[in-house]
């Protein structure tokens, strides 16, 4: 039933499972350690399975003639990968965790390839059988998806560098080009048999070179100016607002100014001829007061009908600054919005207007008037 070699391996695998369980219960169930021990169990159990599969680990059944005429093992780079992995693991322990993880991956990959290759070499005296059938069938299902995942990751990373560097307008074009190239090559491979083999290899190599070259270059050059600006302006922080008449270099110049969620807009604030007014669902008049439900995410749209660029500012009362006792005005605003363009702000006002002496209001810097926001 079980060959003698696989018995040890199965035992080791079981032991790692026990170790993992003990570790999980005593130390930390979702810790890297438990996963590492379980990883050991996977590898060893897997190898045991392979051992069982071709029964080569069974010392008793290896016939002497076979043993005598067994072909010499083939060259293998995997021991080196394994050693590299071990080195990286140690290095990682001393430096950064990423290196440690890389080391583990290299060790697992190198180790399993090494062991399986070794076993496969001894499965029979027929090297072709050993390689094509035993080794390829056993390791193929791991190798191909793994290699595919790694290469896709690399491609995505390199291409993303290019996209981050290229100007916004060129981005779409690049994307189309890239996709077209892939489809074209795919089509040629599918329908032009002559395209396979060396031609294909050459094309792929050129493609890889271009991608690597472009990726590395753009990676070194850095992100395009707008994005760099955005990070300098701290644009991605939720608190970032510039609600006066001044212009933020990134904040104000890369707004979309198009709104798709009209069905969810409670009220629209307009600027026309330098005057501010509002309209709300179900009410026909131009309003100077809008009523907003308390503690509810409410969308308010701003639509600029004037030539001059404007932004809408919602004043949301005051808040204490930390424990200092100082009081600061709370406000939020849209970006600068050009003529006939629109933006939406979502506000959630938990307290009724009565909570603040001045209540809440909407203004547009540079335009006359205000819209009172009443929260009952």
């Amino acid at each position: 039933m079980f060959s003698s070699g696989s018995k040890y391996l199965l035992g080791l695998s079981g032991l790692s499972l026990v170790a993992a369980v003990v570790y999980a219960f005593t130390v930390n169930p979702s810790d890297l350690g438990a996963i590492a021990i379980l990883g050991l169990m996977v590898v060893v159990g897997f190898v045991a399975g392979i051992g069982l599969h071709d029964r080569s680990g069974d010392v008793a059944t290896v016939e002497e003639a076979v043993a005598a005429s067994a072909p010499a093992p083939r060259d293998s780079a995997w021991p080196m990968v394994f050693a590299l992995g071990a080195a990286l693991t140690l290095l990682g322990l001393a430096t950064v965790p990423v290196v440690f993880l890389l080391g583990i991956v290299a060790m697992v990959a190198g180790g399993s390839e090494w062991i399986i290759g070794n076993w496969a070499d001894r499965a029979s005296v027929d090297p072709v059988f050993n390689n094509d059938r035993v080794r390829a069938r056993a390791i193929g299902p791991l190798e191909y998806p793994g290699a595919a995942a790694v290469s896709l990751g690399i491609i995505a990373y390199l291409f993303s560098r290019v996209m981050l560097h290229a100007p916004k307008s060129a981005g779409a074009l690049l994307f189309i080009l890239f996709a077209t190239a892939i489809v074209t090559v795919g089509f040629l491979v599918g329908y032009r048999p002559r395209f396979r083999g060396p031609v294909l290899a050459a094309v792929l190599s050129v493609g890889a070179l271009v991608l690597v070259g472009a990726g590395v270059t753009t990676g070194i050059l850095g992100e395009r100016e707008q994005l760099a600006e955005a990070s300098r302006e701290d644009f991605y922080s939720a608190e970032h607002r510039e609600c006066g008449e001044e212009e933020g270099k990134h904040f104000d110049h890369h707004a979309n100014n198009k709104v798709n969620l009209r069905s969810a807009v409670l009220a629209t604030v307009f600027v026309k001829d330098g005057k501010v007014y509002a309209e709300a669902i179900g009410l026909k008049d131009k309003l100077d007061t809008i009523t907003v439900q308390r503690a509810n995410n409410t969308n308010i749209m701003f639509r600029n009908l004037d030539e001059k660029e404007h932004r809408m500012v919602i004043h949301l009362g005051e808040a204490k600054v930390g424990d200092t006792g100082a009081v600061e005005k709370v406000e939020t605003c849209t970006q600068l919005t050009g003529q006939d363009q629109e933006q939406v702000l979502t506000v959630n006002i938990p307290k009724p207007s009565a909570a603040f002496k001045d209540g809440y209001s909407i203004t547009v810097p540079g335009a006359e008037g205000e819209v009172k926001v009443v929260v009952p």
């Binding site: 969810a264 409670l266 009410l283 009523t291 439900q293 509810n296 009724p352 009952p376």
Partner: protein, 405 residues
């Protein structure tokens, strides 16, 4: 089905007679006066739907009867009486095509009516009044944006009962603070979901003064069954009175009364979530509830003028004792306004319900308010917790709440 004798319902009555003929047995088996009966429209929107129902239901009934009759005939006529095994004919295309076209035609006719009324019901251009409706687990909040025409200068906020003037085309702007709910007053219109992040609109209009019952119809969690609503239609004059009262200033209970002690209890306990507009501390600063810090969805019912409503806790419980409630619910349209505006007096108060609620709210209405289970919401409640009030405090609170008229 209930019969009414108002002129508006008169046309419907004629049709109803036709329906009654077609679905006689079915109708005979119905309850009278079921408050949420979909065949008893009390306003033009529901009426439009009902007119459609009065076409579709009889039609379906007739088709059903024809099919069942045909089937019965076949079952009796062609049973095995020892006849020969018949010819193995595979069908007659003419019959089949006819039987495809006939139902298609019937449905096309229904489709035309449907199409018309879908757009008819979506009409909002002639809206006369707007009310915000906000769903939250497990109650509805209503607030009335400032509308000079109706004397609403400062917004009104209430819950449990939606008060509206009769003969007025009211637009509800529905949304929700947490999960999806659905607003349904069958006598006034079909249902419309309240979806967080969206504003769905629903038009209603009541023909006569009265209370129209409804219920949340989108499953909204634990106490979905206890999320009810009532729409109260008042004549225009009565509505104006109601508006004036809702905007009336806060009346602080006289010092030294039990109610005044109740106000203190309220300020110590209830104010953590429940707002009463106009309430002030001794130093004159307004008392603002901190619902957003204690309730996950960010709000709890505003209790200003609580005793002008007949219900509380998501219209699950009556504030009126049974007799007083029946008196209001069964009042004739012309008397209804006065009875409703009388509000809840000490004699009519349903103390059992109110005290049970104050004693242990989650005990009478399932809610997520066990502090041990509030991990996912970061300690915030979904519903009212058990405040462990003493009986004495409860006495005081009841006395105080009675002053909120």
């Amino acid at each position: 089905m209930e019969r009414t004798d108002s002129p508006v319902a008169h046309r419907a009555n004629t049709r109803r007679a036709v329906v009654a003929a077609a679905l006689g047995v079915f109708l005979a088996g119905c309850a009278t006066n079921a408050p949420q009966d979909v065949f008893q429209p009390k306003g033009p929107n529901a009426d439009k739907i009902n007119n459609l129902q009065l076409i579709v239901f009889p039609l379906a009934g007739i088709v059903g009867i024809i099919v069942l009759a045909l089937a019965t005939y076949i079952f009796l006529k062609f049973r095995d009486k020892g006849q020969e095994i018949p010819s193995q004919a595979h069908g007659k295309p003419v019959v089949e095509i006819t039987l495809t076209i006939v139902p298609a035609l019937i449905l096309a006719i229904v489709g035309v009516f449907t199409f018309r009324s879908v757009f008819d019901l979506a009409e909002t251009a002639d809206t006369e009044m707007v009310i915000n409706v906000t769903g939250q687990q497990w109650w509805w909040e209503y607030d009335y944006p400032a509308q000079e025409k109706y004397g609403i200068n400062t917004p009104i906020i209430t819950s449990g009962q939606l008060v509206l003037p009769v003969g007025t085309k009211v637009l509800l702007r529905e949304t929700s603070r947490d999960v999806i709910h659905s607003y349904w007053i069958p006598a006034l219109n079909g249902k419309k979901d309240a979806v967080p992040g969206r504003i769905n609109i629903l038009r209603i209009e009541a023909d006569k003064p009265g209370i129209y019952a409804g219920q949340c119809t989108e499953f909204c969690g634990l106490s979905h069954a206890n999320m009810r609503m009532e729409a109260v239609a008042l004549s225009k004059e009565d509505f104006a009175k109601w508006v004036a009262n809702q905007q009336a200033a806060y009346k602080k209970p006289a010092a030294g009364t039990k109610a005044a002690e109740g106000e203190t209890v309220f300020m110590n306990q209830c104010i953590r979530c429940h707002q009463v507009n106009g309430m002030k501390r001794d130093d004159g600063t307004p008392v603002i509830a901190a619902a957003d810090e204690n309730v996950y969805a960010g709000a709890a019912p505003n209790l200003s003028h609580l005793m002008t409503r007949n219900t509380f806790a998501g219209a699950m419980f009556d504030l009126l004792s049974e007799d007083c409630r029946d008196d209001v619910w069964e009042a004739k349209p012309e008397e209804f306004g006065a009875k409703y505006l009388a509000g809840v007096s000490a004699e009519c108060l349903n103390e059992t319900n109110l005290r049970a609620w104050l004693r242990n709210a989650p005990g009478v209405k399932p809610m997520y308010s066990d502090p041990a289970k509030l991990g996912p919401t970061g300690g915030k409640y979904r519903g009212m917790p058990n405040l462990n009030l003493t009986e004495d405090d409860i006495d005081k609170l009841v006395a105080y709440l009675l002053t909120l008229k």
